[in-house]
């Protein structure tokens, strides 16, 4: 079991909306943290692409070796992340 999966909800919450570098199984992923699933410890990262679209990456909690914070993010990024997938039509 990795250190990441042993963290608690309050610790995972700390990373939300931050820009991070995740190392998992010797691979590196970068992006803004949308959430961490408290059941699987899977991390969801969002990347804003140049053409205005975005890509979403989920990294399996059990493969996570390290999570490093790169930036805090401004209110606009936070705003975009908050509203992503939450458009109340379900």
């Amino acid at each position: 079991m990795s250190e990441w999966t042993k963290k608690g909800p309050l610790e995972w919450q700390e990373y939300t909306y931050k820009e991070v570098r995740v190392t998992a199984c010797e691979k590196e992923f970068r992006g803004w943290v949308l959430t961490t699933d408290p059941v699987s410890a899977n991390i969801v990262l969002v990347n804003f692409l140049d053409d205005g679209s975005l890509s979403v990456t989920g990294i399996m909690g059990q493969t996570v070796q390290s999570v490093e914070t790169l930036g805090e993010g401004d209110w606009r990024t936070r705003e975009r992340l908050t509203h992503l997938f939450s458009s109340g039509h379900c």
């Binding site: 699987s40 890509s55 399996m60 059990q62 493969t63 939450s86």
Partner: protein, 90 residues
């Protein structure tokens, strides 16, 4: 709130945070239904497929049109223990 000693119990705050992290995770999975998803598997294998569903403990990904190096599989169950990460464009 904000008054020392009058704060809500840690357990209930943890539970609230847990629920909001989980809700955001489930919404991100819901947004992925029907999307083309690229999976990074162990042993350096990359496959793409249409996402269908996961079980609640996120142990399996049910997908269709799985494109593998040896051909297209109409339907498949990917075990999360074989996956490092997944990416899609919402």
């Amino acid at each position: 709130p904000g008054v020392p000693g009058a704060a809500e119990p840690l357990e209930s705050r943890e539970q609230q945070v847990r629920a909001s992290l989980r809700e955001r995770y489930l919404r991100s999975l819901l947004a992925m239904v029907g999307s083309q998803v690229s999976f990074t598997l162990h042993a350096g294998v990359q496959v793409t497929a249409h996402f269908g569903a996961t079980d609640l403990d996120v142990a399996n990904f049910y997908v269709s049109q799985l494109q593998t190096p040896i051909g297209v599989q109409a339907e498949a169950l990917l075990r999360c223990s074989d996956i490092i990460a997944y990416t899609f464009r919402p």
